[in-house]
């Protein structure tokens, strides 16, 4: 194990301190109004329509424009049902044993173009997103499955919305609090929202110059008086990683972008500028392996288990993420996520035990499956041509070589990558998966149920599907947690999508930026409604 550098230990300590301090925002000085924040952005969002995309590049860059029904409190780094606050909704309540969710909406809210906001906008948004019969369809709809339990949405009056579910789904509130769940205007066709933004959020879109800049200006009619503090936000798009870091260091940028805070960059910045504030949080993004269940030899569970055993998870954390990651199963591990497996459970899973023993066991399994020294397994590991992916895939290839598998690396551009995944034209894929909200419903339905479009490995286990449905209805969270732990173990043992680890983010910002608290999920804190500049 590499010696942890003193800077690393120091960072960790500061991180905990900062996260705690930041959460207790009552202790910070009086906010000042004014100033424009220069935020880092790494690429153009594929479009400006949050509901149609599934990348942090769209949340970070468009969230300031919109409002949700409910949102995770921006000032609390650790998201949970307890940190959900209302945005467009003032109050909400569960009724009918958890089958009905009633929202009382704020009054007097206006869209950026002056039109009044009402319950019909909420009904429109979620009818469209859930694919209600008769509702206009989105061109792309990655989270349709989130809302599959909604039977109907009623609007008894302009200030009340009622979600009627087919069966209880306590997670629905968490899903609605995600950065991915803004409310769209009913009077504007969804297609237009790809290139312009009309929301009820704290900032109005001033200008979008593709490839350069997304600029927002303060919304003077924002429904929370006295907010936002900032006069505007500029998301400056810089494609080149080294230039981004230099720009932050030189003060051309005030804050990093979530998911772009590598440990190295953070340490480098800290050395150059000791007053730089660096917060260690999870990204809520895991590194995983996709095994194509429809192709031999992956149809053989022994092979799947062998491959998973071969990858030493702790070595992975050290080598590929320089210690900036946590080993875990399919749900975000502790302390960042509440559903993570306890260490005892983890220890029993492939990849977490003694590396030498596990590799030996892997070799044994492979020879049982018919592969051996004379008849080695040949594999192509495919991955995207992006540094984070390539490093992971390189490590995987090397680990597989150590159990006698002749693995070669194939790196492809994004255009080709997605095509490969959805058409099943790959053998083993080295992949990153983001989970927006720390709730099993957000994760399992998208990635593990039979036939889900994003279940790229095409894993299908009807028993697991039943278990996932069962946990989704559980109101008793303690019981639910235990049940979800069983599901996670089963998924890892089945080799559904072996998780290598969950990466950390080292979020850096200049000290004069106040009230920007990184959350343990990169997708949900891009609203900037509380941020102010102390200068």
């Amino acid at each position: 194990m590499t010696n942890r550098s003193p800077v690393g230990v120091w960072l960790g300590g500061m991180a905990l301190l900062t996260l705690t301090a930041a959460s207790a925002w009552g202790a910070s000085p009086t906010p000042k109004s004014g100033g424009v924040l220069n935020a880092m952005h790494r690429e153009d969002p594929p479009s400006l329509s949050i509901h149609e995309e599934a990348t942090v590049s769209v949340n970070w860059g468009v969230m300031p424009c919109y409002s949700n029904l409910v949102l995770f409190n921006p000032l609390r780094g650790q998201e949970s049902p307890a940190t959900i606050i209302g945005e467009l909704a003032e109050k909400w309540a569960w009724r009918d044993d958890g089958k009905t969710l009633v929202f009382t909406l704020r009054k007097g809210v206006r869209w950026h173009d002056g039109q009044p906001f009402s319950s019909k906008d909420v009904k429109y948004t979620f009818d469209v997103v859930r694919g209600a019969p008769g509702a206009p369809a989105l061109r792309l709809n990655p989270r349709k499955v989130w809302y599959a339990q909604i039977q109907a949405i009623d609007t008894p009056d302009p200030d009340t919305v009622v979600f009627r579910l087919k069966r209880p789904q306590p997670a629905l509130l968490m899903l609605l609090a995600s950065g991915y769940s803004p409310v769209y205007p009913a009077h504007i066709p969804a297609a237009e929202l790809r290139t312009r933004c009309v929301g009820t959020g704290p900032f109005k879109l001033k200008e979008y110059r593709p490839g350069e800049l997304i600029e927002f200006v303060r919304n003077p009619d924002y429904f929370i008086k006295g907010r936002p503090y900032l006069d505007g936000i500029r998301f400056i798009i810089i494609k080149e990683r080294g230039t981004r870091i230099a720009a932050l260091q030189a003060g051309r940028l005030d804050v990093t972008m979530p998911q772009e805070g590598t440990r190295n960059a953070a340490e480098q910045l800290k050395k150059a500028i000791p007053s730089m504030v660096v917060t260690e949080v999870s990204q809520s993004i895991n590194d995983n392996l996709l095994m194509n269940f429809k192709r031999p030899p992956f149809t053989d569970p022994r092979v799947r288990r062998a491959l998973s055993l071969a990858i030493d998870r702790r070595a992975y954390v050290q080598a590929v993420r320089q210690g900036g990651a946590v080993v875990g199963a399919s749900m975000l591990p502790r302390p960042w996520g509440v559903w993570g497996l306890v260490p005892d459970d983890l220890a029993g899973l492939p990849g977490s035990g003694d590396p030498a023993k596990q590799k030996a066991e892997a070799r044994q399994l492979l020879s049982e499956a018919g592969f051996g020294p004379g008849h080695a397994m040949r594999l192509v590991v495919s991955t995207r041509a992006i540094a984070q992916y390539i490093d992971m895939a390189t490590f995987v290839v090397d680990q597989l070589k150590q159990i006698g598998v002749e693995a070669t690396l194939e790196q492809v551009e994004s255009a080709v990558w997605f095509a490969k995944l959805t058409r099943g034209e790959y053998e083993l894929g080295a992949n990153l998966t983001g989970v927006s909200v720390d709730d099993p419903d957000s994760n399992f339905y998208e990635n593990y149920v039979c036939g889900s479009p994003r279940n790229y490995s095409q894993y299908c286990n009807p028993d697991v599907d039943r278990m996932i449905d069962e946990q989704s209805q559980m109101v008793d969270q303690v019981k639910r947690r235990r049940f979800v732990a069983e599901i996670q173990k089963k998924l890892e043992l089945d080799g559904a999508r072996p998780i290598l680890g969950w990466s950390n983010d080292y979020y850096a910002m200049w000290p004069y930026v106040k009230n920007l608290v990184p959350h343990q999920s990169v997708y949900n804190y891009g609203r900037f409604q509380e941020v102010w500049l102390d200068r």
Binding site: M1, T2, E240, R241, G242, T243, I245, T262, N264, A265, E267, Q268, K271, A272, D312, R314, A315, Y316, Q318, A319, V320, Q322, A385, I386, A387, I390, D391, A393, T394, F395, V397, D398, Q399, K401, T408, L409, E410, Q411, V412, E413, V416
Partner: protein
Amino acid sequence: MKTSVVRFLRRQPLGSAGGVVMALVMLAAFAATAVSTDDPTRTNAAQTFQPPGRRHWLGTDHLGRDIYSRLVHGARVSLAVGLTTSALGGLLGGAVGIASGYERGVATAVIQPILDIMQGFPLLVLALVLTAALGPSLLTVIVAIAVPFVPRVARVVRATTLAIRESTYVEAAQALGASGLRVAVRHIVPNTLAPLIVLTTAQLGSAILVEAALSFLGLGVPEPYPSWGRMLSVSAAEFAQRAPWVVIFPGVAISVVVFASNLLGDSLRDFLDPRLRI
């Protein structure tokens, strides 16, 4: 031939130094496995970012891989790209140049436009589109670099051929009844060797630089082949301040080899025919 080499070594010390460097690099590339200390693709979680020392002569990178071994194996890629494109360009360009210089009419009308088109492609643009079309691979990089190189060689060779064609040797030979091919081989080819040699030695350096640029844009020779260009471009920004050796050594390798190839090319030109304008 031997005396020429000795004369060269004596008259052109700088160029000779360049030649020696190139020879060393080629040796390292051919004997890569023997010369390196580790498997260049073996990752080692416990040994990431080790500074240069006894165990790892040039240190290790972010995945714990030995940099010295990666440099040595990377020489293979750089040389493969450089030598193949040089050879392709030299042979194809030379043949085309001689043919179009010797046989004027048809060749000029057909070949010349094609050459102009090939040469008109900005190098990186063609490489980008080719890589998108064919996927990043050693072959794509070679083709992308060779395409603009061939016409450049052809042009120079054609010019030389045109000049020689008018000379008295050729007229005499033709008067004596020698066939076109014979004339070409005996008189024209030897005289075009000089510019060819200069161009192809310089091309080696050029090819390495282009491969580095392609790697920077993410389109170069992909893993697991260690490539100097990729070692430099991927690591530069991220690790420069934390572990400078990860970035310095590939950078030095590229610069030194390209420098050497330029020196060699220059000196060869001075030595063979100072009047060459290339």
